[in-house]
């Protein structure tokens, strides 16, 4: 097992910060968030889970897709290539979100150019979880506190340092020149929650589509967008051409893409005013069905990594794990009656 000390880890991160964009968890007024940093001194060690996932670096909050200059002739240009970015301290659940993103944006044509460019320039150094925390449920959705999926390097804390596992070519390349020792140290197994509810397979969910449960659940929903914005796998967006410059004889637009959510009232409203998901019940039901039925059936990946951020962030306490558990119980009743 390759082992590096804290000191050498910080030296390595300093070197990386000089060569490319380094993103790591920082403490901002008591909240842990990922931020671009210039030096490893800014990193908040000993964090549990950040408030927001690191998806901002491969699916930015706001992104320019095209630049359009409309003058005597129309010129369309693409924004410049994204800078090489390394995200340090990615929890295994957050790393698995790239599987969901790849399933939609890369593996099924047409390929999303912006995502492909960000993915190409992205390197993720993961930090294994020593335990599952309060609202974590990665095991329910096929993950684990020490999962390696989606990462380029996985660090696991051991006595006096970290065990390093190089998982991809990108990982091996950026690890070149780092001082490490080869030791036969065993990494402790993470502490897990027992008794987590079982997630029903996607083909079973259809039986509950018209159940009254969704209406009762959505009574308190505000139709805000918090759950989707804190979710590592949510990827719905809005696109608009925005005027950014107005000069004599020349109009400049940028085609902006920004985060949006299916839970928002107007998300599915179409030209003419018709809204197929006009009630909160339909929208909230769609959110769970997308994650656990539509997405797996259409793209082959679950839309949830079990991080539990939505459980913490929802202002009215709608709990996805409770939904999974209730669906399990309701399906038992339905299947008994069938």
């Amino acid at each position: 097992m390759k082992i590096i000390t804290q000191k050498h880890l910080q030296e390595w991160l300093s070197r990386l910060a000089g060569e490319m964009n380094l993103v790591a968890p920082v403490n901002s007024k008591g909240k842990m968030i990922y931020r671009e940093i210039k030096s490893p001194e800014q990193i908040a060690w000993g964090f549990e889970r950040t408030k927001m996932p690191p998806k901002n670096w491969y699916f930015p909050m706001t992104e320019s897709i095209l630049e359009i200059k409309q003058g005597k002739e129309t010129k369309i240009t693409e924004p410049p290539e994204p800078q090489k970015t390394v995200i340090f301290g990615v929890r295994p659940c957050d790393a698995r979100s790239v599987i969901a993103f790849d399933a939609l944006f890369l593996n099924k044509p047409p390929v999303d150019r912006q995502y492909a460019r960000h993915r190409e320039a992205l390197i993720m150094i993961g930090l294994s979880c020593p335990q599952m925390w309060d609202t974590c449920f990665c095991l329910t959705v096929g993950g684990a506190p020490n999962s390696k999926e989606g990462l380029d390097i996985l660090l696991s804390q051991v006595e006096d340092g970290y065990a390093v596992e190089l998982l991809t070519v990108k990982g091996e390349t950026i690890f070149e020149g780092v001082t490490f020792k080869e030791l036969a140290i065993k990494v402790d197994e993470p502490q897990i929650h027992n008794g987590l509810p079982a997630l029903r397979k996607s083909d079973q969910w259809m039986a509950l589509f018209n159940d009254l449960y969704w209406q009762k659940l959505s009574d308190s929903c505000l139709s805000c967008r918090v759950c989707s914005f804190v979710c590592p796998t949510c990827r719905c967006y809005d696109v608009r051409d925005e005027l950014v410059a107005l000069k004599p004889g020349l109009k400049e637009y940028e085609r902006l893409r920004a985060w949006d959510s299916c839970t928002a009232t107007g998300y599915r409203r179409i030209a003419g005013g018709h809204n197929p998901r006009d009630t909160k019940e339909k929208r909230l039901r769609n959110r769970f069905y997308c994650k656990f039925m539509y997405y797996p059936e259409d793209y082959g990946s679950l839309g949830c990594v079990g991080c539990g951020r939505c459980i913490d962030a929802c202002p009215v306490g709608i709990d996805i794990l409770e939904v999974i558990e209730n669906v399990d119980h309701l399906l038992e009743k339905v299947q008994i009656n069938v």
Partner: protein, 288 residues
């Protein structure tokens, strides 16, 4: 079980058993011990209702989904709602703006010992002088003793900020709004924000872009604070709902303070009076 919870459940059970209302909106505890809104429609579910200091949303907000008739020739549903003194002012606001009718609502008022946001007592609560709602149908006394403070000084943090230079204030708000994710939880948790389409989402006329950048977020928050001028009751549901702990109540309290000084007006005193910005005094000369 506390006396307060017993009384809340008894009131709800009575309203539902006697079919006075079809739904009681209150709070319940989930399996993790956290508080969340509860919609009780059956008298036997009334024992889910509880109240404690973490009940910091404004349940009057949910009346917006029960203010219209559900169909042809059907009456507007009757609802009972659990309210703190600040929440009741939203009721008066909505009545004066002709959104709800008093006869369709039953108010389960509580004398309020103060609520918390993010584990800290709310700033307004620490100096609140109004511990009994201005209107109620059932009044339930709080379990905890209520200490009414001697002076109203809910504006300390605002006065401090007013002494900074404009550049410092701008830097402060830009830093705060950098954390904002434009989720609109603040707007949707607010009973005063019930516009069908918010200006920050309008395409035509186009006020602001969809970008989640600081200027756009500042536009949204400044305009929301302005649109709530004379309408904000100071319940701080916006700050309670915010996932990024942004001190939104400062903006609203600043506007409320200016309005109190300029017009001696507090939102929600009287359901009959006209909204502040819809009237004027031809003799007033304000510093514009």
């Amino acid at each position: 079980m506390t006396k307060m919870n017993k009384q809340i459940r008894a009131a709800a059970e009575k309203y539902l058993k006697d079919s006075i209302v079809s739904c009681v909106i209150g709070y319940e505890e989930d399996s993790r011990g956290r508080i969340r809104p509860a919609f009780i429609e059956d008298a036997k579910d009334a024992d889910r209702l509880i109240w404690n200091a973490t009940c910091n949303l404004n349940l009057v907000n949910y009346l917006h989904q029960r203010k219209l008739s559900p169909g042809k020739d059907q009456p507007v549903p009757k609802t009972a709602v659990l309210v703190r003194p600040c929440d009741v002012r939203s009721i008066n606001l909505l009545i004066s703006e002709q959104q709800i009718k008093r006869e369709n609502i039953k108010l389960i008022g509580i004398t309020c010992p103060g609520t918390e946001i993010n584990g800290q007592p709310r700033t307004i609560c620490q100096f609140c002088m109004e511990r009994t709602p201005v209107d109620w149908d059932v009044l339930i006394d709080s379990d905890q003793p209520i200490e009414i403070p001697s002076a109203e000084d809910i504006y300390e943090d605002i006065k401090e900020m007013e002494n900074w230079t404009p550049a410092e204030r701008l830097a402060y708000w830009q830093k705060e709004f950098d954390n904002c994710i434009r989720c609109y939880a603040c707007r949707l948790a607010c009973p005063g924000c019930y516009c069908y389409e918010c200006v920050s989402e309008q395409v035509d006329p186009h006020w602001t872009s969809i970008a989640l950048d600081v200027p756009e977020k500042m536009f949204f928050h400044v305009m929301r604070a302005y649109h709530l001028a004379g309408r904000c009751v100071g319940c701080d549901a916006c700050e309670a709902a915010c996932p990024m702990n942004i001190p939104l109540s400062r903006l609203n309290r600043k506007v409320a303070r200016e309005i109190l000084e300029m017009f001696n007006y507090k939102t929600g005193d009287d359901p009959e009076e006209a909204p502040l910005l819809a009237c004027f005094d031809p003799h007033e000369r304000l510093r514009t």
